[in-house]
């Protein structure tokens, strides 16, 4: 294989991987911080995508403009959902394991609810629109323009989130909460506002990812589930709660998939991801990058 082909392969893997990392960020925040395994994560991504698509096709508004809008809309939704559902769970669950199990089941129900709501409103056909679909030539390799944009945005947001968590006071508070709930409360970190806020940000991030993805891929009500699974795999690879790990894990997964698809059979892609997933969960449940 020529050098160009190798580079194209690796880069296409990285691009897909960057997208995976972005998708996983929101889920990571929710699970790492609040032990809420939001299995409906992909559905909120799908909502962001549909919102952007609807606005694009009806009003012709650019998806770039929709990036902050979809973030805010879904963040508001996240705050609402947290207030309606998860607050009561926190109050009524006697220990963290029960809370985790119940949270999982609630998000299960949300998955059913949202996926079918969208399907009922907009129908089940595939939809999409073209935006910046012309290929961009870099050296001797070619990549679709919109995919490059998505990759760039993914990097920006991942790194931005990591910086936010590491440098700002809010970020430090979030990291403190991740390590010890009680300890953080004892030093005055307000969980009552921080939890819904982080949940909302997590959903906002998935909406944002959906908005970006709608530029480059077709959308349908069922598109959410594969992304949820991918997000799960990424945060397992990277270690729960670690943003840097999610980024690294996402990129790694993208490259593994690209190589796997190229050297074996494209239909083995899903199989490969699941094997990686189960392998990591069994052999290194704390993630590949933790010590």
């Amino acid at each position: 294989m020529s050098v160009t082909a190798w580079i194209e392969l690796i880069f296409s893997g990285l691009i897909t991987g960057g997208i995976y990392a972005l998708v996983a960020l929101g889920l990571n925040l929710q699970y790492g911080l609040m032990r809420i395994l939001n299995i409906a994560h992909g559905e909120f991504l799908m909502l962001g995508a549909y919102l952007t698509w609807m606005v694009q096709t009806s009003f012709g508004i650019s998806p770039f403009l929709m990036i902050p809008v979809s973030f805010v809309v879904l963040m508001g939704m996240g705050l609402l959902i947290h207030w309606l559902c998860f607050r009561r769970l926190t109050a009524t669950s006697s220990n963290i394991d029960i809370f985790e199990a119940r949270g999982l089941m609630v998000s299960f129900g949300l998955m059913f609810l949202i996926q079918n709501l969208v399907s009922a409103i907009w129908g089940g056909e595939l939809r999409g629109y073209d935006y910046m679909a012309e290929p961009v030539v870099m050296g001797q390799a070619q990549f679709a323009g919109n995919k490059l944009v998505v990759f760039a945005m993914a990097l920006v947001f991942s790194l931005g989130l990591m910086v936010l968590l590491r440098k700002t006071l809010l970020g430090k508070g979030v990291r403190a909460l991740m390590q010890s709930q009680v300890g953080a409360q004892l030093v005055g970190i307000n969980t009552r506002t921080l939890h819904p806020l982080m949940f909302g940000i997590g959903l906002g991030l998935s909406g944002l990812a959906g908005c970006l993805l709608s530029m480059a891929y077709t959308i349908s009500p069922a598109m959410g589930e594969p992304y949820t699974v991918t997000a799960l795999i990424v945060i397992t690879l990277g270690g729960f709660g670690s943003m840097g790990g999610a980024l690294a894990g996402g990129l790694l997964l993208g490259v593994i998939e690209a190589f796997g698809m190229h050297f074996t059979n494209p239909s083995l892609k899903a199989l490969l991801s699941y094997v990686v997933f189960i392998g990591v969960l069994l052999l290194r449940p704390k993630g590949l990058f933790t010590k």
């Binding site: 009561r88 089941m105 299960f108 059979n265």
Partner: protein
């Protein structure tokens, strides 16, 4: 609790329901029988799921995998073996896979376990897809020898009865108590002498055997199966939903919920499948939030508690919004500063 009187009551109820289900094909039309068949399928699936996962709190999302394995066993072998053997084989293969899976995976904590079983179910689905495509060159299979409807009906009925009967008896034995202990505090149960590893594997294999047998029987309802229909994750999800909403730890909860949802499914699903699924999702959320023990745990006290909670919420909100709370806080602060 589990006294002899209760045992007789449970057995009698089971007899009654069985008799009624047996008589159904004689006077019901095709639609009713078909609905009853789906209902019996979910009774078996959700009762076995509830028995293991409800007590031990290990939520398995692998039901679809075992169902599909049973379905494929029938599809591949029905031409060469009698009906009963095909069902037994489907059940046995599913149980064997569950033992292997369980030994590898059951030492993980609840959420990890749930996610992992889901991953493994999808893995099996994709593996079979790939195998069919590359080795057999097909996407799906056509079932040629199809037994009569009454055979299918009675087989699934038998499986459902066996499952409920086992659930009635096993929960009164050491095995049932061990599962409860594992769900309560696994490490404590271990220090009291429970070999948790094998108990969990056995419970998991039980759910798999039932799912495999039911899958093997139901496969012939579709003349053409492919991995997508046989391993449809929705079957697994619906089982979990039904068991949870009905009350996973109880005996009759999953059964009652299975009946309710089968009726709901057959009536709603054809007109408005999305509304049906949305209802399912909403009911699950409501049930987890307000009725964690499921429908079967509802008592008069539950309604009284809800009423009391609502009144308390109303009082609290009114207190906060009318400004009284702010005033009381201010007064308390002043008192502290003055030092009274």
């Amino acid at each position: 609790m589990n006294t002899n009187a209760n045992l007789w009551r449970d057995v009698l109820v089971l007899f009654g329901l069985t008799g009624w289900a047996l008589a159904l094909p004689s006077y019901g039309n095709e639609f009713v029988v078909s609905m009853a068949l789906t209902c019996l399928m979910y009774v078996a699936l959700s009762t076995s799921w509830g028995f293991f996962c409800g007590s031990s709190r290990y939520l398995s999302l692998a039901t679809s995998a075992f169902f599909g394995l049973g379905a494929y066993t029938t599809a591949m072998n029905l031409d060469s073996m009698p009906w009963a053997s095909a069902i037994a084989l489907g059940s046995g293969i599913a149980a064997a896979v569950a033992v292997v899976m369980g030994l590898a995976v059951l030492h993980l904590r609840g959420t990890y376990f749930a996610v992992l079983t889901f991953g493994m179910a999808e893995l099996i689905r994709h593996a079979i897809s790939y195998y069919e495509k590359s080795v057999h060159g097909t996407v799906g299979r056509v079932l040629t020898t199809v037994p009569e409807m009454s055979t299918i009906y009675h087989t699934v009925l038998l499986l459902a009865v066996i499952t409920v009967a086992l659930s009635i008896f096993l929960r009164r034995t050491r095995f049932g108590l061990a599962l409860l202990g594992i769900g309560g505090d696994e490490q404590r149960a271990q220090t009291l002498g429970v070999n948790t590893r094998w108990v969990k594997v056995a419970g998991f294999a039980f759910t798999a055997a039932v799912a495999g047998g039911v899958g093997a029987a139901m496969a012939v309802r579709w003349t053409y199966i492919d991995p997508h229909t046989a391993f449809n994750p929705f079957i697994g999800f619906q089982t979990v939903l039904i068991a949870l909403i009905g009350g996973a730890m109880t005996l009759w909860g999953p059964l009652i919920a299975a009946i309710v949802f089968s009726i709901l499914a057959e009536t709603l699903r054809l007109q408005a499948p999305q509304i049906y699924m949305m209802t399912l999702g909403l009911l699950l959320i409501l049930s987890v939030l307000y009725l964690p023990g499921g429908l079967a745990s509802m008592r008069w006290q539950t309604f009284k508690d809800w009423y009391r909670d609502m009144r308390q919420w109303y009082k609290d909100t009114r207190y906060e919004w009318s400004g009284d709370k702010a005033r009381d806080k201010q007064r308390a602060k002043e008192r502290r500063i003055v030092g009274l």
